[in-house]
């Protein structure tokens, strides 16, 4: 930017100004008010965080800022000005000149937001030349390489000829940010830019956005469902609920003394890496006891009353013993279609005792999903052994495995694709019983309905199809499906990572209640450190197919031994804005150290 004076937040005229904005969609059941009477401003060089759950209208707002609602059936009223352009009434050509030039957008899913059939160079150069038609091809290329360099793509001059599929998720998000930067816009609008990414990558992208804002004097609008993601990067926060702004103010004051109850509940839902399992459990149990006292008859299962099984790790009998398992995949590549071996899991051992929860943390590609699939025996380990209740199931044929399937169940990551859309909820859950030899249809129905109520749904949901449910409800259905057979071991593979923070909290609470009631043993796989800490007795940190650190949950978190664990912990988003900024500089230090070691 030309004027370095705009760096300090809050000076000058606002670049984005929204006044009394309402966006309405006509639907079969009447109008849906996606956004109602929203007002905010973003000063030049300032940063605003927009926070809300899915359906709160935050994405509709960001699309409207880009003028991307045009051509859809949305109706808009109120004022919306971006860099002097009246987005509500300006002609299409003016809006096009604004997009990418005055305001650039970074989208949620970097995997699908780049065109797979053009090189990234092509896509960057195109963005530049659209707004600088007089620029030569060489100049556009030079600018694109600069932008890639700026966002930390190594060897940008070479990588500019690569296709999107040749980059990892984090790198693709960097490319998308670079694409936003080539024309040096006044505002960068990032809509959930890190939701699809790993924790350490998330931290890197957030750090990058912060850097760019400081160096280029851009304004930043950061949209997220997670307050912790926004906390360290913005000056001001706007909390949205059902299309309306419920709270808006300085980030420190909103986070330290939230006024609106909704903000408070959002804050409470954010999983905190500094809260230990014991604290969390006590909290959940207390809430539950209070709820039961308030409505003693509402509770369907009196047996599930709160009993204190003692805090900490109560070791039961040995349930599962995994010894030195490895899983080999063949990777095709090289000149003559040669295959190379790749170990997704490379020598992992652990024992699991009745009633405990083992948390497995790692980033994508660390082998944690492969490991859980092996324990499920959806995959046969290449080497090593898996002993479940004294039976070696490592090489058991499928036919002999079937009765054992009853005891080990799994809850999958994506509740949108793990439920068959053509089966009713009742069928989805009840099928497992039928497969295991239960023939009495009425009994199955009764059991399924009982369980539906137990997981917080209603018995009359039995005949509905999955599309009628939200993400959190679907995950409850998936939980019911896993529990219908009364399993001994449940493997949860990223069960909450596709959910909003507040829904996440509810599902986690449900899981821990169910663990008490059904005496479950859990393997909890996730990339989110805070979530894992809250549910796990013991934690294993995985990286590149190996367990780098394993031990008592609190010990691992409070006194991490391995550098990688430290790096992960440093990357976890933190609610306190000042602490987050301190962590940011610490991260830079640590990253240098780790890259020096590697």
């Amino acid at each position: 930017m030309t004027n370095p004076g705009t760096r300090t937040a809050g000076s000058g005229d606002p670049v984005v100004s929204v006044r009394d904005l309402s966006i309405t969609f006509a639907s079969m059941d009447g109008d849906v008010h996606a956004v109602k009477n929203l007002s905010f401003e973003v000063p030049a060089g300032g940063a605003l965080g927009i926070v809300g759950e899915s359906g709160s209208g935050k994405s509709v707002t960001s699309l409207a800022l880009m003028g991307l609602h045009r051509g859809s059936k949305a109706r808009m009223s109120g004022g919306l000005t971006v860099a002097g352009v009246d987005v509500v009434s300006a002609p299409d050509s003016r809006i096009r000149a604004m997009r990418g030039n005055d305001i650039a957008m970074v989208f949620q899913d970097p995997m699908s937001s780049l065109h797979p059939q053009y090189t990234i160079g092509n896509q960057l150069i195109e963005a530049y030349r659209t707004h600088r038609p007089k620029a030569s091809a060489a100049e556009a290329k030079a600018r694109s390489i600069d932008a890639l360099e700026r966002v930390g793509i190594p060897e940008p001059a070479k990588r500019i000829n690569s296709y999107p599929h040749e980059f990892s998720g984090g790198m693709r998000q960097r490319v998308l940010i670079a694409m936003g930067l080539v024309c040096e816009p006044k505002v960068l609008l990032a809509d959930e830019p890190t939701t699809a990414l790993d924790v350490t990558v998330q931290a890197q992208i957030l750090d990058l956005l912060d850097d760019l804002r400081q160096d280029l004097g851009m304004s930043l609008i950061l949209v997220s469902h997670d307050l912790a993601v926004v906390a360290g990067s913005v000056d001001e926060v706007l909390v949205m609920k059902k299309g309306e702004a419920v709270e808006r103010g300085d980030v420190r004051s909103v986070l330290s003394s939230p006024e609106h109850p909704y903000t408070r509940s959002l804050l409470a839902a954010v999983p905190r890496v500094e809260v230990s399992r014991a604290q969390r459990r006590a909290e959940v149990r207390a809430d539950r006891a209070a709820a039961q006292q308030a409505a003693p008859q509402a509770e369907a299962t009196p047996k599930g009353s709160v009993k204190d099984s003692g805090s900490g790790v109560a070791k039961g009998e040995l349930l599962l013993s995994v010894t030195d398992v490895r899983q080999k995949f063949k990777v095709r590549g090289g000149m003559f279609g040669r295959t190379t071996d790749f170990y997704a899991v490379d020598g992992v051992s652990f024992d699991l005792y009745q009633g405990e929860t083992l948390g497995i943390v790692g980033e994508s590609g660390s082998g944690k999903s492969t490991l859980s699939r092996m324990v499920m025996r959806l995959l046969q380990p290449t080497e090593g052994s898996i002993v479940f209740e004294g039976n070696d199931i490592t090489r058991l044929p499928e036919r002999k495995l079937r009765p054992l399937r009853r005891d080990i169940q799994m809850i999958f990551q994506n509740p949108y694709s793990s439920l068959n859309p053509r089966l009713t909820v009742g069928d989805s859950i009840g099928t497992a019983l039928r497969v295991q030899g239960e023939g009495d249809g009425k009994l199955i129905k009764r059991k399924v309905q009982e369980l539906l109520e137990r997981v917080g749904l209603e018995a009359n949901h039995y005949n509905r199809f999955p599309h009628a449910f939200s993400g959190g409800q679907r995950q409850r259905i998936a939980i019911a499906r896993a529990l219908i057979l009364n399993p001994k071991l449940v493997i949860c593979d990223e069960p909450v990572s596709a959910l909003d923070v507040s829904t996440q909290d509810q599902v986690l609470r449900l899981l821990s209640e169910l663990q008490d009631d059904f005496d479950l043993t859990l393997i909890f796989v996730a990339h989110d450190l805070a979530v894992v800490r809250q549910v796990s007795d013991r934690v294993a940190v995985m990286r590149k197919g190996k367990v780098v650190e394993m031990g008592d949950g609190d010990a691992v978190y409070e006194n991490p031994q391995h550098d990688y664990t430290k790096q992960l912990l440093a990357a976890a988003p933190i609610l306190d804005p000042d602490e987050a900024k301190r962590q940011r500089s610490a991260r830079q230090q640590l990253r240098k150290q780790v890259s020096a070691v590697v």
Binding site: R99, F107, L114, P116, E126, H165, F336
Partner: protein
């Protein structure tokens, strides 16, 4: 990449071998299995008044009394190194790609097919270009203006086009456009090298009729593909860059849509090259398709066998071309190999 090409070539050659074998067995082995004697089989080939001597000569000439494997071997030898046929005391040499002689008029099958190739080629290329451009254009406009009058009319016509066979649309076109209204000249074939204008105007009607049938299918496919592509995240990214809607559609939307259409196009062109039987028959164009129809009517087995093999070759070759082009169109395929 090189391995990919070699593997594809190898697979294509293998496929052709299998097709040849199966076709051969169908024509020469199955009648025997069904209980026909060698003499009966030979009698079919001789013609109207088979004399015992002629039958004997035919059996001898075609090795009909040999086991099927030997016959196939002789056939393959004919294709790769040529064959000698004995007519009484004369020995006739049939040189390298020898698919045998027509029973009907004793002409060399390979030569006859090659002679007719330009007709079928001209028909296929012209019609192919027309239906690809026409179908895709209509499909793109329909997708962008989804629900408009244009979309509804175009999709209605497309549905009709898919449902109406060539012998209906072709004869209709002949009756009205050529005979009643005299808008277009009757279909005829003039070699391109002789007179390009006459070539195009003579083939225009068959092109349009053949293209109509296929274009309808392409329009529907393109529309569906385009609608899906335009909902992708990267289209939103393209719009967010400030690109003109035309660039968004034609650069970012069209290419992913065309990728699967390329596959169908390869198959369709291969099929038409193997003989657009109905079109050639309706418009009396002397191409491979018509040759095949005549041969079938006269039970001229070597011709039928030859034409069938040629059809198979075209389909395999066109598919091979598509497979080889695919990595150029979609870089992700390149990575997979």
């Amino acid at each position: 990449m090189l391995t990919y090409i070699l593997r594809r070539l190898g697979a294509g050659a293998l496929l052709l071998g299998i097709v040849t074998m199966v076709t051969f067995v169908i024509f020469y082995g199955v009648p025997r299995m069904a209980g026909q004697t060698v003499e009966q089989l030979a009698a079919m080939y001789v013609g109207r008044a088979p004399t015992p001597a002629a039958i004997e000569a035919t059996i001898e000439r075609l090795n009909l009394d040999q086991p099927i494997a030997v016959q196939f071997w002789e056939f393959l030898k004919g294709i790769f190194i040529g064959a000698d046929y004995q007519y009484g005391r004369d020995i006739v040499h049939c040189s390298a790609p020898c698919f045998g002689y027509s029973f009907q008029n004793n002409t060399e099958v390979f030569g006859e097919i090659v002679k007719r190739l330009p007709v079928t080629f001209s028909l296929a290329i012209g019609a192919g270009v027309l239906w690809l451009i026409g179908g895709v254009a209509v499909g793109v406009v329909s997708a962008i203006k989804k629900g408009s009058i244009f979309d509804r009319v175009a999709m209605g016509v497309a549905l009709a086009g898919v449902s109406m066979p060539i012998f209906f649309t072709g004869l209709l076109a002949l009756a009205f456009l050529v005979h009643s209204w005299k808008i277009l000249p009757n279909a005829s074939y003039t070699p391109f090298t002789e007179n390009p204008v006459a070539w195009a105007s003579g083939l225009f009607l068959p092109w349009v009729v053949l293209a109509f049938l296929h274009a309808a299918q392409y329009a529907r496919q393109t529309r569906a593909g385009m609608l899906e592509t335009m909902g992708e995240d990267y289209i939103r990214t393209a719009r967010a860059k400030g690109l003109k809607e035309r660039t968004v559609v034609l650069k970012h939307g069209l290419r992913p849509t065309l990728t699967p259409i390329l596959t169908i196009f390869g198959l369709d062109i291969g099929l038409v090259l193997g003989g657009a039987v109905l079109t050639e028959q309706v418009f009396s164009l002397n191409g491979i398709g018509r040759y095949a129809v005549n041969a079938i009517a006269y039970k001229d087995l070597p011709v039928v066998l030859g034409v069938t093999l040629f059809g198979a070759i075209f389909i395999v070759v066109c598919n091979l071309l598509v497979d080889l082009l695919y990595p150029l169109v979609d870089p992700r395929v390149r990575a997979a190999h």
